[in-house]
């Protein structure tokens, strides 16, 4: 992604955060109605920050617009673009989220073992670009050992009651 597009995206997100923040303060009944006496109140600091953020987001958008208008950013060659790497990240985030939601339902050990085995095998594939029976077996054993070690460390060592 070009710097201009990155800045454009950043600026839009920051504008969104600013607007959401101001809306939240405006709809907060206590802040709107309560008299805090000599205290400037709990809205002062957030308003200052949101104002600064709003100005910053406009500056970022302005810089992005200026770059896009002048745009002579070299196109990256196809070979320089990482192929399909975004899908790896999205898949990881999706499975991680599923793992977090599954843990209270099925328990730490099954959820963690499944997640660990899945990703140790997949990440090995990502490195060597093929599935090998021996390395799959090693990955499964490593994942099992990892799960067991973390369970013992936190349940026995740190005394955290994992589900």
């Amino acid at each position: 992604m070009s710097k201009a597009k990155k800045d454009l995206l950043t600026g839009l997100v920051l504008v969104g955060v600013t607007l959401a923040g101001f809306w939240s303060l405006r709809t907060n009944e206590t802040i709107a109605t309560f008299d805090f006496g000599t205290d400037p109140g709990p809205a002062l600091f957030p308003r200052l920050l949101l104002s600064a953020l709003g100005v910053s987001s406009l500056a970022v958008l302005g810089a992005a617009g200026w770059r896009l208008r002048r745009a002579v950013e070299p196109r990256r060659s196809a070979s320089a673009r990482p192929r399909g790497r975004a899908w790896w990240v999205l898949s990881f985030v999706a499975t991680l989220t599923a793992y977090v939601f599954a843990m209270p339902a099925v328990g730490f050990l099954p959820a963690t073992l499944t997640f660990s085995v899945f990703w140790t095998v997949l990440l090995r594939y990502q490195d060597v670009k093929r599935f090998e029976a021996r390395s799959i077996l090693r990955s499964v054993l490593a994942a099992a050992a990892l799960t067991g070690a973390i369970y013992l460390l936190f349940v026995t060592g740190v005394r955290v009651p994992l589900p």
Binding site: M1, K3, K6, D7, T10, V17, G21, S24, N28, T30, I31, F34, T38, D39, P40, G41, P42, L44, F45, P46, L49, L50, A52, L53, S56, P82, R85, W88, V89, F92, V93, L96, T97, V100, P104, F108, T112, F115, S116, W119, T120, V121, L122, L123, R124, Q126, D127, S139, A142, A143, L146, T147, I150, L153, F154, G157, V158, V160, P161, L162
Partner: protein
């Protein structure tokens, strides 16, 4: 005061459980620091939850063991595979790896261990000497000074962050906004809680730090090509010739002093210290062209600076409650969990804790040196840890560690959310460390601004009090200098002068 500190100091040193945990922390810290893709900050963040069930002494011994050792551990991969394990070892690789390629890997690792020890001890001495003095000055601070110092700390981080100072500032503002989520500490009014009971208690620093420093790096690693590297396995001679080693002590002294002073500047970080130390040695050398070819000075200067930064970074943390770098920001999270608020009042009300920090750091330095020297022949094995196991393990540790804070899955979701946010921020070249700093310093800044306005009823007081005014002027200078310098360069048509390897608060993958 001194007898009380000495009592607590020696009590910590003769506690076998504390020493054992320090040793565990050192071993884990060296291993994680050596592994590319696992930075010192990440190591501390993901292992922080393990300290929750420990008492304060044991927790400090463990965490400072990791802190100190991981800083040294980064030199191992820098020397053996030419990839820095931590941001502070970015410069060590410039001479460390060529030394290893010339068959001097063992000597390079030994130089790194001894320089780390020297720097660590000097940094420790500065901490012990100057922290009480600075705390005494800080006692005179009232709310305007605290607000100004907090703003100074944030601005220094923005100035010191890689890339755009402006984007670092925006990241800091976002962090300050995150700190406003939940119940206001003065009036108990809930802000930005989105109707959620969980958010009323605010966003906990530990899940956020684990997310942005831990999970975000895992995501970056998964997206990356999976670094392949060749490990230099042959370790011949370990101890360098005495005739060579003895002429390096001035290098170690200079590097250590630079590192400790830079580390003491809030938010500056070790990456700046090592770059300055290396550049200074090169400037003073009679043969500057030899730097980068594999000379011991190129290892001793940055490694002594790196480890001196640890003691230096603890000074603003202990005396003002302002993180000296990203790692001390994470450490502040640990202190808050243990019910301790860092700042000058530690030196009045909790001298026992101050002594524990001194003892923990000294123990960590000694144990790191011993383990470092004993393990020279075996470090290459650490680097053979398979990436697939490492990254999966780190991800699971992030999940379990965030859960361990309050036994809450909400904290795990916070960790995942900020892992994604941290990853996205790095993709758009926005540093993440200011976000964490903002979350830590937000309550301090807001309370002191509001307290000032409640007492003095005006904003002018911030510029009428001399310390506050001085801090605000330095803050303004730090923020205005980069755009001014850029404008001057463009106006005069001058190229930006080449600089040593740039510092990064975003850990390298």
């Amino acid at each position: 005061m001194i007898p009380e500190i000495l009592d607590a100091f020696f009590a910590a040193l003769i506690d076998p459980g504390a020493i054992g945990l320090s040793l565990v922390g050192v071993l884990v810290g060296i291993v994680l620091g050596a592994l590319p893709g696992i930075s010192s900050t990440m190591s501390l963040a993901i292992l922080l939850p393990l300290s929750f069930s420990m008492n304060t002494t044991h927790a400090m011994m463990f965490l400072l063991g990791i802190f100190s050792a991981s800083v040294y551990g980064g030199s191992i991969s820098a020397i053996l595979i030419n990839i820095p394990g931590t941001p502070g070892s970015i410069v060590t690789q410039m001479d460390g790896y060529p030394m290893a390629k010339h068959g001097r890997a063992g000597e390079a690792l030994t130089y790194a261990a001894l320089a780390s020890a020297f720097g660590g001890i000097l940094g420790w001495l500065l901490l012990v000497t100057f922290a009480p003095l600075i705390a005494r000055v800080a006692f005179q601070f009232q709310s305007p000074e605290y607000a100004a110092v907090t703003l100074f700390g944030l601005s220094m981080l923005a100035y010191a962050s890689p890339g755009s100072t402006f984007k670092a500032l925006v990241s800091g503002i976002l962090g300050l906004l995150l700190a406003a989520v939940g119940l206001d500490t003065i009036t108990n009014v809930s802000r930005f809680d989105l109707g959620s009971d969980h958010l009323q208690s605010g966003i906990s620093i530990v899940p956020l730090a684990v997310g942005v420093f831990g999970l975000a790096e895992v995501l970056r690693n998964i997206e990356g090509s999976g670094q392949r590297y060749e490990v230099i396995k042959e370790i011949r001679r370990i101890f360098p010739p005495w005739s060579e080693a003895r002429r390096l002590w001035p290098v170690a002294v200079r590097g250590s002093l630079i590192g400790a002073m830079v580390g003491a500047i809030p938010a500056a970080g070790s990456a700046i210290g090592v770059a300055v130390a290396y550049a200074q040695e090169k400037r003073l050398s009679r043969e500057p062209e030899r730097f980068g070819t594999g000379i011991p000075e190129g290892v001793v200067a940055p490694e002594s600076s790196n480890n001196a930064c640890v003691g230096g970074a603890l000074i603003p943390m202990m005396t003002l409650g302002i993180p000296g770098d990203a790692m001390t920001a994470v450490l502040i999270g640990a202190l808050l969990i243990h019910g301790l608020r860092p700042g000058p009042f530690l030196f009045r009300d909790r001298l026992d804790f101050v002594a524990v920090v001194y003892a923990s750091l000294l123990t960590a330095i000694v144990l790191t040196t011993v383990v470092g020297l004993l393990g020279v022949r075996y470090f290459a094995r650490i680097l053979r840890t398979p990436r697939n196991v490492l990254m999966t393990g780190v991800a699971v540790l992030c999940v379990v560690g965030s859960y361990a804070v309050r036994n809450s899955f909400f904290d795990v979701l916070v960790m995942v959310t900020f892992g994604i946010v941290g990853y996205a921020m790095q993709k758009v070249d926005m540093p993440v460390a200011p976000l964490v700093f903002g979350l830590i310093l937000g309550p301090l800044l807001e309370e002191n601004i509001r307290r000032t306005l409640i007492v003095y009823h005006e904003w002018l007081i911030f510029v009428q009090r001399p310390i506050s005014l001085a801090m605000l002027l330095v803050t303004a200078a730090a923020l205005l200098y980069p755009p001014f310098a850029g404008w001057r360069r463009r106006a005069t048509g001058r190229e930006r002068p080449p600089v040593a390897v740039g510092p990064t608060q975003n850990p390298p993958s």
